[in-house]
Amino acid sequence: MRRTVGLLLIALVASACASSVALTVPPVDKLRPAGWREPVRVALGSIGGEPCFAEALKGYLALPGGLQLADNREAPHTSLTGRVDRIEVHSNRGDKEVSLLYFSAFVITAPIAAAMYGAKDWHADAAAEGSLSAADAGGRVIWEKTLTVSVSETQRTMPSADALNAAMKTAACQKLAATLLNAFAEHVSAPPPSR
């Protein structure tokens, strides 16, 4: 009887993991410099590393205003190339799951464990490290930047490990792409240094 109850609790915890997670971390806003009368058109060259970075760059450039992706008919202001070198996701979601399973194995402590760990938040952080560089029509590099960004999330839900990793990776890629492109937009709009 006890064994059955324990197994049932374990099965319940294991099956309760949601296959998707909605993060509360807001995306980085696109910079739309006030002085620009027209959007600045850029071309995307080689973008290396995880595909989510290239997708995030395209997503940013597709938003209205500021930097825009040049189409085939117009000459771009600059050509952007870059890569994401590393994306790492860390969370204690697994610890919460293991603790819940461990203490649920003892029938007497199972309700306490369910109450305590069920009501405990998990925390995740993701770091993305990458670079972006801009070259003029002659291929001369006019700007480049390497950056590490971080996003974090705290929730009480119980997503699956895959769902959490995918959501955090996407958020980190989005932040890296938006921060690098915002920095480039800031560079384009900055007045030239006075002599």
């Binding site: 790492e88 860390h90 610890d95 402590t109 306490i112 464990a113 305590m116 770091a127 590490t148």
Partner: protein
């Protein structure tokens, strides 16, 4: 009777392990900046040193510069990654809290760009992570009593952007040595960063409202 004691141990174990985390410690080897020494113990921001003529309310814009990790804390490639990640993590936490606090009309992220020139008084937040270690999960689990503890210490400077004079310094430190099966060092370090960023922004809010560092 024996069953009762086993049950009590398990319940106590759950309660104990669920409640552990990073806790504040006295910062060590804090470097003074000019005449400023971080000597006043603040309830939220750690140890604080203020220039006597510092008038916080005149500053309506803040520029947050990226923090760096002291070279002494980096010994291998894992440390390099942790240093980059935690500097970015602390930066993001400070940025988010500064924007939410409503102390400043403008909060500028120096990783994106510079503040355009204007007449308003600007303050720059600079700093470094002077101690950073995830510790050892094995030591925390098998030895305990502080062995293998995860530790983090930050030291900050507020600099007047016009005069480049340092008007405030702080130092804050956290350590965590107990968790489920020794606990995850990275979680301890991120929790420490959360706590220190939170405490720092609360200190700024207190100062900008006319308060002084100290107990509250």
């Amino acid at each position: 009777m024996r069953r009762m004691s086993v049950l009590t141990t398990l319940v106590l174990g759950i309660l104990l392990l669920a409640g552990c985390g990073a806790h504040r410690m006295t910062p060590v080897d804090v470097r003074p900046v000019g005449d400023l020494k971080a000597e006043v113990e603040d309830a939220q921001g750690g140890q604080v040193g203020l220039a006597p003529d510092f008038k916080p309310a005149v500053y309506r814009a803040i520029v947050l510069q990226p923090f760096e990790v002291s070279a002494s804390e980096i010994k291998d490639q894992d440390d390099v990654r942790l240093a980059k990640d935690m500097a970015a993590y602390l930066h993001a936490q400070l940025m988010r809290r500064l924007q939410a606090a409503g102390i400043f009309a403008r909060v500028v992220d120096a990783t994106v760009g510079a503040l355009p020139p204007s007449d308003e008084r600007v303050i720059r937040l600079q700093g470094h992570i002077s101690k950073l270690t995830e510790g050892s999960q094995a030591l925390r689990y098998f030895v305990g009593f502080g062995a293998g503890a995860a530790k983090a210490q930050i030291e900050t400077r507020l600099v007047d952007a016009q005069s480049q004079r340092v008007v405030m310094i702080t130092a804050d430190r956290r350590a965590a040595g107990m968790g489920i099966f020794g606990g995850d060092g990275r979680q301890f370090v991120t929790e420490s960063m959360d706590q220190m960023a939170d405490g720092y922004v609360k200190l700024l809010k207190h100062l900008w409202a006319g308060g002084r560092p100290g107990p509250r």
